[in-house]
């Protein structure tokens, strides 16, 4: 084998390069207006927009409704009302960061809660076993989604559209449309209602479901930002092929994220037993739309790879504040839906504006 020789450039013209300049052809303009600087701030902190909107809507409704709205009880009530959407939204956030979408979240949530209930009341299993079984069912549904999406490379929209119908139909067939009543649960298996229990701090009322939502979001925030798994999740959503070639096991990531989504939906199912008291096969019909709405208003990109889970919480809270505030004002429900529709479009329009301008 020949010894490595210090190779000389073949072309003469390359010899002049040693003198070449070192500037780069990009200029930071100094004449930034206040608007531009604000835009850039918003660009660098993606959940700031939704936080600002949230605060603004709190203020507006506070002015319109006064003390009836702006007290610890009402504000914590909003928290209780969005807790389940927040939990499901966390699952949806993870999936959407991978550039996927999960239309089956609501179906998985209701099936898990029905399984928890039926195992206790139809088969007489102890509740300590029934709850983990509910989680297992959620994980299984998530695994099926993940398997079809990651291994068979089917589009998430279609897979979860199909699973939505399958899981929901299974839910109705399995539950035989029977609601398990709150009183029965209270006497036989109070643990099922655990996440509905509450404690007070002054006028504020917190349910364990709210606490669960907050802890879940905090945990996921940590995982997304401070662990390798989180970084990989963003990389997968950003460009799955690049992630694969850079050494991320994309398939395993995708399967794990859908399983996790299934587990979180099961948690939402448990929380819904607490909130409603009973186990009903008809809950969660709008969980997919609501969670996607929260994610979108929270500024998380449907194209994947971008966005913060905190944005989702703000998004859910914005919807919660609007719905509660408009209800208190006594507006026709249809106006609420109309306004939320407008809000969704405005939220992405603002997002687009920030991105375009900040480059």
């Amino acid at each position: 084998m020949s010894e490595p020789t210090a190779a000389a450039p073949h072309h003469d013209y390359e010899k002049v390069l040693k003198d070449s300049a070192t500037e780069v052809a990009s200029f930071d303009r100094d004449d930034k207006s206040a608007v531009q600087r604000f835009r850039q701030f918003l660009h660098s902190s993606p959940s700031a927009v939704s936080l600002i909107v949230l605060v603004a809507s709190l203020i507006v409704f506070g002015i319109l409704l006064g003390g009836k709205f702006f007290n610890a009880f009402s504000l914590t009530l909003i928290l209780q009302q969005v807790a389940i959407t927040g939990i499901v939204g966390a699952a949806q956030t993870l999936v959407i960061i991978t550039a996927g979408i999960d239309l089956s979240v609501g179906a998985i949530m209701v099936l898990s809660s029905v399984v928890m209930g039926q195992l206790v009341f139809r088969y007489g299993l102890p509740v300590e076993i029934a709850i983990p079984c509910g989680f297992a069912v959620g994980a299984l549904c998530g695994f099926l989604n993940g398997f079809l999406i990651a291994r068979m490379k089917l589009p998430p929209f279609i897979v979860t559209l199909g699973m939505w119908q399958i899981v929901l139909a299974s839910n109705f067939l399995y539950s035989a449309n029977e609601t398990i009543r709150a009183q029965e649960i209270e006497t036989t298996a109070p643990l099922l209602q655990l996440l509905g229990h509450n404690f007070r701090l002054g006028g504020a009322v917190f349910t364990y479901g709210v606490i669960a939502m907050v802890l879940l979001v905090a945990l996921l925030w940590y995982v997304l930002n401070q662990t390798a798994w989180g970084r990989h999740l963003y990389a997968v959503g950003d460009d799955p092929e690049a992630a694969e070639l850079s050494g991320v096991n994309v398939k395993r990531m995708l399967v794990s994220v859908y399983v996790l989504s299934g587990l979180i939906c099961a948690l939402a199912g448990w929380a819904s037993i607490g909130r409603n008291g009973s186990v009903s096969p008809t809950i969660g019909q709008f969980a997919n739309i609501e969670s996607i709405t929260a994610v979108v208003i929270g500024g998380i990109s449907l194209f994947g790879g971008r966005g913060s889970i905190l944005g989702m919480v703000f998004g859910a809270l914005i919807v919660g504040v609007f719905s509660f505030g408009l209800r208190m004002l006594g507006t026709d429900v249809q106006w609420t839906y109309l306004l939320i529709g407008v809000l969704i479009i405005v939220a992405v329009a603002v997002d687009q504006w920030i991105r375009k301008a900040a480059g």
């Binding site: 009302q81 609601t179 009543r181 409603n276 008291g277 009973s278 019909q285 709008f286 208190m328 026709d332």
Partner: protein
């Protein structure tokens, strides 16, 4: 001391705000509330079965300091603990139209006797057919796959009235009477009524009696029958008594319908809340029943002697929607 009139506020929570039945209920409640100086706020689920929106509405009412809640529950068992919270907070809870399970979860229920509504049209169909009732072919156009209680009560009530053994009266579809062609769901609208009728006609083209869950479904079924030229020789019966429905009875689209009175339910509910807030007195049930029966009347232009009924002219006078 009794609160002054201006302080009295009430909530009306309906299953949806798109079904004319609930729209009328809201109108009735608003009119009565205005009359009595009660401030009323109305809420509804997005679709039938959307219990979560109703829960959120109950919570809002409590936070809002309302004196009472009128509710047609989507999930009659599931909503109970939330209503208990309201009652614990001192609100009067009145179930409208749809009884809760258990029925005493509400302070009072103002409702139609849906079983009776079903029985009336069943009986009317039997009497109208006379001897031919023995070998009639009956189609059942029900509400949704999840078999809510109204669906069961009307469907099974019809069977009782018509002389079909309903077997388990809490379950649709366990009957074995040869005269039943089949059950199909309609979602309570024209679209579903038409498709369901078409499907059942294919199963057995000789159908001559159709039980429909409500009048929109009946109108859809009629379109399907008309398309095959059988609209004249099939008996359609329905429940509701909305104005379009009663007009359809007058025009022979529907043979007979059991009319219920949502305006009255709502008005009575508002009165009860007002009274409760003024005097602390709760309403009493109809004698012999565990709820306040707001009445049901058979509306038909072809009366049969065995059943008391009113004609469509009278029906139009009392109709809603």
């Amino acid at each position: 001391a009794p609160a002054s009139a201006a302080d009295v506020s009430a909530c009306l929570i309906t299953k949806t705000d798109t079904n004319p039945f609930f729209v009328k209920m809201k109108e009735g409640a608003s009119a009565k509330a205005k009359e009595l100086g009660v401030s009323l706020k109305s809420y509804a689920g997005k679709i039938d079965g959307d219990s979560e929106s109703q829960v959120a509405a109950i919570e809002t009412c409590i936070a809002d300091g309302a004196k009472g809640i009128l509710i047609t529950a989507s999930d009659t068992k599931g909503i109970v603990p939330n209503l208990k919270k309201a009652r614990d907070a001192g609100l009067l809870v009145i179930a409208l139209d749809t009884p809760l399970e258990p029925i005493d979860a509400a302070d009072m229920t103002f409702a139609t006797d849906n079983l009776l509504a079903g029985k009336l049209i069943g009986q009317w169909a039997k009497e109208t057919l006379g001897d031919k009732a023995k070998d009639a072919k009956v189609a059942f156009l029900d509400l949704t796959p999840s078999q809510p209680s109204v669906d069961i009560l009307r469907d099974q009530g019809f069977m009782m009235g018509f002389g079909i053994d309903p077997k388990n009266p809490n379950k649709i579809g366990d009957e074995d009477d040869k005269r039943i062609v089949g059950h199909d769901v309609t979602n309570g609208n024209e679209e579903g009524g038409r498709t369901a009728m078409e499907n059942l006609l294919q199963k057995d083209p000789t159908i001559n009696v159709v039980h429909t869950i409500n009048e929109p479904a009946a109108a859809g079924a009629y379109e399907a029958l008309k398309a095959v030229g059988r609209e004249k020789d099939v008996l359609i019966v329905s429940v509701d008594g909305g104005c379009p429905g009663v007009k359809n009875v007058a025009e022979g689209v529907i043979g007979a319908t059991s009319q219920q009175y949502p305006l009255q339910m709502a008005a009575l509910g508002i009165e009860a809340i007002k009274k409760f807030s003024d005097t602390g007195e709760k309403p009493k049930p109809t004698a012999g029943k565990d709820f306040f029966d707001t009445g049901v009347t058979l509306v038909t232009d072809k009366p049969v002697s065995a059943i008391k009924s009113i004609d469509t002219k009278a029906g139009l006078g009392k109709c809603w929607g």
